[in-house]
Every structure is written in structure tokens, then in C-alpha cells.
């Protein structure tokens, strides 16, 4: 596949490693006592859609940026590629 890196342009997917659903960005708040249910969902539950999927790729053999790639799991068409830091910040993640 070809991933259109927002900074570097088109790169072969072979330069990347794949992690999984971009929902991994939405890590729950830590709680000193509870949080088991939220973290269990976070670690194990996935939508696993047959269709558009937002997922995390790491440009291991390139600039070492994490990307959020919007890819159709049926057709493999990639419609969007964003820097993961941009997506994380947009989702309210900071420190």
C-alpha cells in the first residue's frame, strides 16, 4: 500500500509498522482505585469495522512519526493521513 505522509509525501507501507485502531489514542483517565472497566474496554474492545477504519501506523523506517490513517478495510483505499499528534490534540490530549 502507499501511505501519503502529510510531511514526506507518498511512501510504501513497508516503511511503517502497524499498531491498530486509533481508539488507542483515547486512553482513559487513571484512577487510584477504579477504572478497570474503562481500561478493559480500552485494551480489548474494538469496533473492527468492515469499511472505514482509523488506525495507527508508525513510520519506523522514516521520520518516526505516528500517523492516523483512514483506510477502508474492504477496499484498502486510504482517504486520509494525519499526524497522530494533531489527532491527539484535537481529541483533547495534552499532558
Amino acid at each position: 500500500m502507499i501511505i501519503n505522509h502529510p510531511l514526506l509525501g507518498q511512501r510504501d507501507a513497508q516503511e511503517f509498522t502497524y499498531l491498530g485502531d486509533a481508539c488507542l489514542i483515547d486512553r482513559p483517565e487513571w484512577q487510584p482505585e477504579g477504572g478497570l472497566e474503562e481500561f478493559t474496554d480500552y485494551a480489548y474492545q474494538r469496533e473492527n469495522p468492515a469499511g472505514e477504519h482509523r488506525e495507527l501506523w508508525f513510520h519506523e523506517q522514516g521520520d518516526r512519526s505516528w500517523l492516523v490513517v483512514t483506510r477502508n478495510t474492504l477496499t484498502h483505499e486510504i482517504s486520509k493521513v494525519e499526524l497522530a499528534t494533531d489527532v491527539a490534540r484535537a481529541r483533547g490530549r495534552h499532558k
Binding site: M1, D12, L24, W30, L36, T85, R89, R93
Partner: protein
């Protein structure tokens, strides 16, 4: 002589070749199949299952029968289709699957037993008794089955990989492909034109159509010349496109040297290309299909289009009396062409009552071939006339045409299914095409030469969005398709073949239907139709037409099976490229590698790294002697070990401490500058992921280490946390594993040795530089270095790091300075022995299934701060009373050996899973204690000190009594660390 006049071979270049030990002559431009036929050879091998005598049926890569073993010795290649072998001088080939000879094959007895060998017989018979399968049935079947034999010698050739980019990839250089390439090439776009054949032109080289006032082959040659002169065009003959992958990526294999006896000096045998095509035009042509009738598989029975291809392009006809059996007008071209060459056409059998008549040959219309005779070569056919009478006709070649199938494979590599086109009675590419693909010519169901060329030119223009006028194309034949579907002859006795390579007959399809394996995917697996090396290219459509009939549904309703790459068989050597044997993956060598080699070190592969495993000295013949010595020498004086391979990650920024505090389960926020701390990283699910040490070099500067194996994954994980979880923390990471050469210096004399190298202004006394201190220093008169007082061995120890380029210099300086202390270089084995003696966890214990609690580090998981994995580590299931705990083991009989991986079973219990209480993870011989010791996980282990159990290894058949002890075998108080 069956070599006639004409043909496109170079008759000035005569070639000698042998087949089954007999020598023949051919010409440059012949294939092995054409040359054999020119020499009158029709019998070329035996079929897979029934060992029936077989000959070639096609003139292309779709060939199911003429599979030969090419060459001898290390380059021997089984299952090579004679139709695609370019003849070269001295070529040696042998038939396959027949013993002792292709004329007399002992296993032809299988044919007599055929009623028992119908589809599905493998799993209906050979089932009982169960124990016979491994010892009796399987060896017999293995011996009888298979096609061809391997040389079992290493491949002497090299294979390369390459990358190409283009605006338009044109697959297939027949009339459509050449027209497309000319259109695209003249526009200046970057074009690749690929064709499997060594001579581009496709059917233009096999038919007698004129293009304008030129022969088709002449026009093709001129087109190729023009394309060759264009710098923006890359011609790739002898190149097979294997698969259409996502986003316009194609794989292709180019035969660079297959047509030579040996590759030229420095040249690869084949190249595997990865082609990035912005757009691609599939001009793969069409493949003829036969008609099924009883005994339709005899040598001499061929596809009609192939009969005339051999006559026209290769001036070869392997017989003198030719008959043609057809259901469409195209089959009649063979009649016309052979008559034009002066070959006798003894009969034309047309299933259509109203088929056209070609003068010069006797026609039987509304007729069918219902049987044939001639086991080793066709002798006669039996024809059932329209009026029901039979006629036997003597002939030695029968050309059969059931129509043409557009070659849709590559168009369906990305989930697409072809559509049925009633007009041509064939499948054409569907609407769901791979990225960037369009189809032209016969591959798209556009069969006449004129229309194929137009569609190729138009397709190229559209793909490249060209605005200029279309190119001039010569006038040529534009005949319509005229076909009446006819798939198999009914009401005739005898087996009728559909898939000749896997020996699947119409009867097998009926059996599949009867057994309710009716979907095409079930039909395929139940009968093995289409599963051989030809992937059923001349069989699938006919077979599913038969199934459609049986199910009383239409062909489109029946559908096709999924098409997958590779389009043609590809050598594993081509897929491997240079990644073979020692070059399977790159080697990474540590800075002390050269020096270690000089010492005669034995190396071990740790991932891509080569690490010294031990350093044998003169007189040492067994590795234990070296390892025991290195361990004893280190603990008694001083040893040095290269630990460069462990991951190093530089962590910098005002939030570096905060960041590390979230990555490690234990606390790092308050680590003082100049101190090192052991850290445990968990996975988010609470499992221990990696451990190491982190040193605080300065307020905002840390150096984190990881295990060797996890250097890459820990760095990846830390970047994930930094970029995706806490993107606004002021922290930066960089991997510095290769930037620093790092050596462990361990033993009672470690400080004394280092003092000789550390520059005098740095105080490394125990007071100034205590256990777990770190600092930036210089050594050897000003070379920057980092010193860490950490110990994996349990002795007084340091790790000293210098920039990699000084690594070789430093190891030599350490060895030189250490002479007075009898310094011993030690390798990974001694390193392992010492850490087990101390009870330090390593990769074996951090196996992805163990938690901090299992490791005895439950208290390290902070309850007052967020860290990766801390919440899920609290799960009840991970914290039950009898959770496994890391403990030590020693054999009750001190002389007994232990095996890592052995399971712990209570003394009176049977060795079954129900009584499995744990397992040994690491086992070494301790020269300090004089016996084997081990670490392992035991349920509730920390409360069971002194208990005896059995360590059971069912594979190795050992059962040793062991005593549960503390994992810290040597210096459990840690006094030696702190001197």
C-alpha cells in the same frame, strides 16, 4: 519431417537439445514445446493422478500437461512448462511423473484403478485403521504423488529485486498492448510494457492476419523497434506480471537468464520487480478453452489456436493428418491456416449445424467427437454425426476450440469478480477493478484484431488523459465472434477431462454435485479442479459450466472462484532475492567485533546482532570449559563484556521525568541527577513488557536502557506514548543504541582496572561514585564517556560507554589495562550464568505472560501515579492467591542436570496439565556452586521454600527432583555490589 516452411525462428542459428536422453535439433526462437513438435514428439509426460500419457495442448503459460524437468544438477527445475522454455544450445530436459520411461510408466496402473480414485477418494479411503496413516498410507502416497523431483542442491544463481515507477504499466504486448504502448509512449509519459514472451506481439505472431500491407509479426516488430527507441518507454519482454496489489503496486518476475545455459558473469538469473504504476492497462489477451469429450486428453489433442500457432510462428506440426473440433468460427482459422501450409485437414467437426464451411476440408456439422484412440499418441477419433451415425476418422492431431476466455485473472486480484458476457459466451472483467486499472483488447472481451488495437489505443489515451488525436492504426481483420456454447459431449461413454493437470473429469464434477459440494469453491476443493500449477486456466470455465448445468442454473449464477497472485508459478529463489543463507538478514556487529574475532570468539545471533558467546582459550575443547572459566575469573578478579546491543534511548526535555514516570510502573520523577534506577515497564494489559535501567545525567536528560530484543519495540512504544497519549509534554526521544559502545566491567578488581583509564579528575571511589551512580566523564586523555555503576553480574561492576567510533580502541585499552588483573573477556553465556546466579529476571522471565507480581516486584507498581499497565495489573485474575512466583531451583541430586522449560509437578502426581504447578524458565550450570541451578515460576512459590517437586520434561523424557530455593543463589544481601 514435421518442420514445415515459414515461422519466425532464426534458421541460421541451429541449436542442439536433448529430451529424455535423446538429442534433437531446433532453432533460435523455438520453445522446447515447438522444437519437440517439429521433431514429431507428441508424448511429453504423464498426468499427475492417473499417469496417462500426455502431450502439449497449448502454446503459452496456461499449459497443463507438458511439464518437464529442465536442466540437471544444481539448476534442475521441475514442473517447467515446455511451452515457455526458450530453447538454448545444450538444453537438457526430462519428462516427469513417469517411471521407468514416458512410454512405459509403471504407475499407469492407477488409470486401471480409476473408478476407485475418483474425486474425494483421499478422505474416504485411507481412514482406517488410524495408526496406518503415518506408517503405511502416507509414505506410499508420498512416493507415488507429486510432480517432478528437486535436485536438493543449493541454487547456484543469484536473484535480484528491483523497483520501478511509471505513469502507465501496460500488461501484455499483443495487438492491444502494442497499440496502447505506442499511444502512451508517443505522448512522452513514462511507460512500462511487459510481456511474458521473449518475442513481443502476442497473437500477431501466431496468426496470419495482415496489418495494413504487412504481416502481423512484421508490424509488431516495427512497433517494438519504435518503442525501444523511446527513452520514456521501458520494454520488459520475458517479464510476467504476477499480481495487482493495492494502490497500483504490481509484482513481476523478469527472466534475465533463463534462456541461457548459465547466467552471464555478474548477472542474476531472475529479477523480482516491484512496480509502482500510477495507472495500468491490462492487455492480457484471451486463453482458448477446449471441449470435454471422452478420452480428450491423448497426446496430439490440442487447442485449435495452439495448433495454428505452432504451424504459423514455429513452422511445426507434430503430425500429418489434422482434424478440428469446434463450436465457433475462430476454430476454423486453424483449418484455413493449415491448408495454406499444405497440411492435410482430414475433418472439421462443428457442433453447430449451421457453421461456415471452409473449402478444402470435409465438414461434419451438428456433429461431435465422442471418443478417441491412441494411447501414446492420437490415432483416430470417433465422430457422432448429426443423423446419429458414427464415423471413425484417422488423424494424429486434433485441434479443439470451445471458445476463448478473456484472461481476467489480474483484473480480479482485488476481490473483483468477472461478469458473464453472453455474446462471447465468456467471462469478462467486472466493474470492481484493482486500483488504477482499465482493461483493453481480448482481455476485455474485444476479440477482433482491429477492435483490440483500437481499444488498446483508446484505453491508454483515457488512462493518461491524453487530449491529442488517436494514433493511426493499420487496417486489419475485424471479424465478429460467432459461437454457440458447447461445453461437453453427452451420451458418450468414457471419461472426459476438464483439468488435465490434476486429472479432474466431468464425472468428478458430477460426483461433487451428487455429494452436495455444489458451490464453485467447494467444487474446486472437493475435486482439486484448478488447484494445480496452471490454476485451471484451460479448465475452470468448462467445469463450472458443467456444474451450472447440473444445478440447473446459469453460468453467471454459478460464478467463479477467487483469483489470487501469482499469476504464474514463481521460483522461491526470486522471492527470496539476496536474502539467503548468511545474507538472510543484515548482520549488526558490535564495536568490539573485530577485536573479538581476533580472540577467536564464538558468536551467537541475537536478532540481527552477532554477540560473542564465549572466548575459547588454548586447550579448551568444550564450551563449558570456557564459560565456567569466564564466570570464575569475573567473580574472582575482573571480566569485560560488550553490552552495546542493549537498547539505549536518550530522553530529554523539561517533562522528561514526568514522561518516564508514566512509562515505568515504578517511580522516576524524583530520581536524583547522577543516579541510576532499575525500571520495569508494563504493557497496558498489566503484563511485564521490558526492564532496564534509567540514568539521570542531568535535570532534563535521561538515558533509558532496554533489553537487546526489545530495543526497537520499546522505542516504538515510547514514541507512541509521547505522540499519541501526551503530545504536549516537553520531551524528545532518540534511539542511541548504535551511537555508544558500551562495556560491562565486573569483578572485585573492576574499579582498579577502570582507574587506569578514567581521567584523573574524576573520582570513582566508592564514596564519590557509589552503587547506582552515573556521570559524564572522560577517559584515555579526554575521550567523552558515560559511566554507570550498575551490575547484572552481582559483582562490583560498571558499564562504560564511549562514542561508537572509539569502541574498538576502548576494548583494546581495557584488555591492555586489565592484563595485570588477568582480565577475562566474557560472552553472553557467562553473562547469563552470572545473572541467573543472582536471580535477575531477563527475557525468559519476561515472556509476555508474567506480571510484576509473578516476578516478585508487586510493590514496584506504584499505587499513587498513572503508569502504563497499572490499572489492568490490578485485575483479580492476575492477583489470585496461588499466582505464580519467580523462585530458584536446584536438583536434589546435585549431579543431575536441569532443563529449561521443564514443568513442575508434585511428587505423587501424574505429569498432566491438571497437576502442572509451574515451569523452569532459565537453567545454567553454576561453576561457583558446582551444580545446575534454575529460575522458574511456581504457584505460590515464595511460601514453598525447601519443598521438593519434580521438574518433568516429557519431550526429553527427564524427571528430576528439585528443591525450591531463593532465586538469589550468590550474595543475596548484595554486599559485593556495594564495595
Amino acid at each position: 519431417m514435421t518442420r514445415i516452411s515459414g515461422g519466425l525462428m532464426d534458421r541460421s542459428k541451429e541449436l542442439s537439445f536433448s529430451f529424455d536422453g535423446k538429442t534433437f535439433q531446433g532453432f533460435q526462437g523455438d520453445t522446447l514445446a515447438s522444437a519437440l513438435q517439429a521433431n514429431g514428439v507428441r508424448l511429453m509426460g504423464r498426468s499427475f493422478k492417473y499417469h496417462r500419457p500426455r502431450g502439449v495442448i497449448s502454446a503459452g503459460s496456461e499449459e497443463p500437461n507438458a511439464l518437464v524437468e529442465l536442466r540437471s544438477g544444481a539448476r534442475k527445475e521441475p514442473n517447467t512448462r515446455a511451452t515457455v522454455v526458450e530453447l538454448f544450445d545444450g538444453l537438457k530436459a526430462n519428462s516427469q511423473n513417469c517411471w521407468p520411461s514416458r512410454k512405459f510408466d509403471a504407475l499407469a496402473v492407477n488409470d486401471l484403478l480409476s473408478p476407485f480414485f475418483a474425486a474425494g477418494f483421499y478422505y474416504k479411503t485411507f481412514m482406517w485403521p488410524a495408526k496406518f496413516w503415518e506408517k503405511v498410507y502416507e509414505p506410499i502416497i508420498r512416493h507415488a504423488a507429486g510432480l517432478g523431483t528437486l535436485s536438493l542442491e543449493p541454487d547456484p544463481d543469484v536473484y535480484d529485486k528491483g523497483f520501478l515507477h511509471c505513469d502507465l504499466l501496460v500488461t501484455g504486448a499483443g495487438p492491444a498492448g502494442l497499440a496502447a504502448a505506442l499511444t502512451a509512449g508517443r505522448s512522452g509519459a513514462r511507460i512500462i510494457l511487459a510481456d511474458t514472451d521473449f518475442l513481443m506481439g502476442g497473437r500477431l505472431n501466431a496468426e496470419r492476419f495482415a496489418l495494413g500491407d504487412e504481416a502481423g509479426s512484421a508490424w509488431a516488430a516495427a512497433a517494438v523497434d519504435e518503442l525501444a527507441s523511446m527513452p520514456n518507454v521501458r520494454l520488459m519482454p520475458r517479464t510476467s506480471i504476477l499480481g495487482a496489489y493495492d494502490h497500483g503496486i504490481f509484482s513481476a518476475v523478469e527472466s534475465v537468464s533463463d534462456h541461457l545455459a548459465v547466467p552471464a558473469e555478474g548477472k542474476p538469473r531472475q529479477i523480482l520487480w516491484r512496480i509502482y504504476a500510477k495507472k495500468n492497462l491490462l492487455c492480457a489477451g484471451a486463453i482458448e478453452r477446449p471441449i470435454a469429450f471422452p478420452n480428450n486428453d491423448r497426446p496430439g489433442i490440442m487447442l485449435a489456436g495452439a495448433v495454428r500457432a505452432y504451424a504459423n510462428r514455429w513452422a511445426a506440426v507434430a503430425g500429418s493428418k489434422v482434424a478440428v473440433f469446434t463450436n465457433n468460427d475462430d476454430g476454423l482459422r486453424t483449418v484455413t491456416d493449415l491448408l495454406a501450409k499444405g497440411i492435410e485437414v482430414v475433418a472439421v467437426i462443428d457442433t453447430r449445424e449451421d457453421g461456415p464451411v471452409v473449402s478444402g476440408a470435409e465438414h461434419f456439422r451438428g456433429a461431435q467427437v465422442i471418443n478417441t484412440k491412441g494411447r501414446l499418441g492420437l490415432k483416430s477419433i470417433t465422430v457422432r454425426l448429426a443423423n446419429g451415425q458414427s464415423r471413425v476418422i484417422a488423424c494424429d492431431i486434433l485441434g479443439v476450440s470451445g471458445g476463448w476466455n478473456p484472461n481476467v485473472s489480474i483484473s480480479s486480484h482485488q476481490r473483483g469478480r468477472p461478469d458473464w458476457n453472453e455474446d462471447i459466451s465468456a467471462f469478462v472483467p467486472g466493474k470492481d477493478l484493482p486500483d488504477g486499472m482499465s482493461v483493453a483488447g481480448a482481455a476485455n472481451g474485444v476479440f477482433s484484431t482491429a477492435m483490440a488495437m483500437n481499444s488498446g489505443a483508446a484505453g491508454a489515451a483515457k488512462a493518461l488523459e491524453l487530449k491529442s488525436a488517436a494514433i493511426d492504426l493499420p487496417e486489419t481483420e475485424d471479424d465478429p465472434v460467432s459461437i454457440k456454447p458447447f461445453w461437453h459431449v453427452k451420451h458418450a461413454k468414457g471419461r472426459a477431462w476438464l483439468d488435465q493437470q490434476n486429472d479432474v473429469t466431468v464425472k468428478d464434477v458430477k460426483l461433487a454435485h451428487q455429494e452436495n459440494f455444489r458451490s464453485v469453491e467447494h467444487l474446486k476443493r472437493y475435486t482439486t479442479l484448478g488447484m494445480a500449477t496452471d490454476q485451471g486456466k484451460t479448465a475452470n470455465v468448462n467445469a463450472l459450466a458443467v456444474m451450472a448445468e447440473l444445478c440447473d442454473q446459469s453460468i453467471p449464477e454459478t460464478g467463479t472462484t477467487i483469483f489470487r497472485p501469482p499469476y504464474v508459478p514463481v521460483a522461491l529463489g526470486a522471492l527470496a532475492g539476496r536474502s539467503r543463507a548468511k545474507e538472510f538478514h543484515p548482520y549488526r556487529m558490535t564495536p568490539s567485533h573485530k577485536w573479538a574475532e581476533e580472540q577467536g570468539a564464538v558468536f551467537v545471533e541475537t536478532g540481527n546482532w552477532l554477540r560473542a558467546q564465549w572466548f575459547p582459550q588454548k586447550g579448551e575443547t568444550h564450551w563449558r570449559q570456557s564459560v565456567d572459566r569466564e564466570v570464575l575469573a569475573t567473580r574472582s578478579s575482573v571480566g569485560v563484556c560488550d553490552v552495546t546491543t542493549l537498547g539505549k534511548i536518550d530522553v530529554q526535555g523539561t517533562d522528561a521525568a514526568t514522561f518516564l514516570n508514566k512509562i515505568y510502573c515504578n517511580g522516576f520523577a524524583k530520581l536524583p541527577v547522577g543516579k541510576v534506577r532499575y525500571g520495569l515497564m508494563l504493557r497496558e494489559d498489566g503484563m511485564a513488557m521490558d526492564d532496564g535501567t534509567t540514568a539521570r545525567m542531568a535535570e532534563n536528560h535521561f538515558v533509558t536502557t532496554t533489553t537487546t530484543a526489545n530495543a526497537l519495540s520499546v522505542y516504538r512504544h515510547m514514541e507512541f506514548c509521547r505522540q499519541c497519549l501526551w503530545p504536549d509534554l516537553d520531551v524528545q526521544l532518540i534511539s542511541t543504541t548504535e551511537s555508544w559502545a558500551q562495556y560491562a566491567v565486573a569483578g572485585p578488581n573492576a574499579r582498579k582496572l577502570l582507574r587506569k583509564l578514567v581521567d584523573p579528575e574524576f573520582d570513582i571511589s566508592n564514596e564519590a561514585f557509589p552503587f547506582m551512580a552515573c556521570g559524564e566523564i572522560t577517559v584515555c586523555g579526554g575521550i567523552e564517556a558515560r559511566l554507570f555503576r550498575i551490575s547484572f553480574s552481582g559483582e562490583l561492576a560498571y558499564e562504560i560507554a564511549v562514542p561508537t567510533r572509539y569502541g574498538d580502541g576502548l576494548i583494546r585499552a581495557l584488555m591492555d589495562a586489565g592484563k595485570e588483573f588477568d582480565v577475562a573477556p566474557y560472552g553472553t553465556e557467562a553473562l547469563g550464568v552470572m545473572r541467573v546466579e543472582k536471580g535477575h529476571a531477563a527475557g525468559n522471565e519476561l515472556n509476555g505472560q508474567t506480571t510484576a507480581r509473578n516476578l516478585g516486584m508487586a510493590r514496584m507498581v506504584s499505587k499513587t501515579k498513572d503508569s502504563i499497565g497499572s490499572v489492568l495489573s490490578r485485575r483479580d485474575g492476575l492477583n489470585e492467591g496461588n499466582a505464580p512466583r519467580l523462585v530458584g531451583f536446584q536438583p536434589v541430586d546435585r549431579a543431575a542436570p536441569l532443563t529449561s522449560g521443564a514443568h513442575l509437578i508434585g511428587k505423587g502426581n501424574p505429569a498432566i496439565a491438571e497437576h502442572d504447578e509451574g515451569y523452569l524458565t532459565s537453567v545454567v550450570y553454576s561453576p561457583n556452586l558446582g551444580h545446575y541451578i534454575g529460575l522458574g515460576f511456581l504457584e505460590d512459590g515464595e511460601t514453598r521454600m525447601g519443598e521438593t517437586l519434580r521438574a518433568v520434561n516429557l519431550l526429553g523424557k527427564t524427571d528430576i527432583e528439585v528443591e525450591v530455593v531463593s532465586p538469589h543463589f550468590i550474595d543475596p544481601e548484595g554486599g559485593r555490589l556495594r564495595v
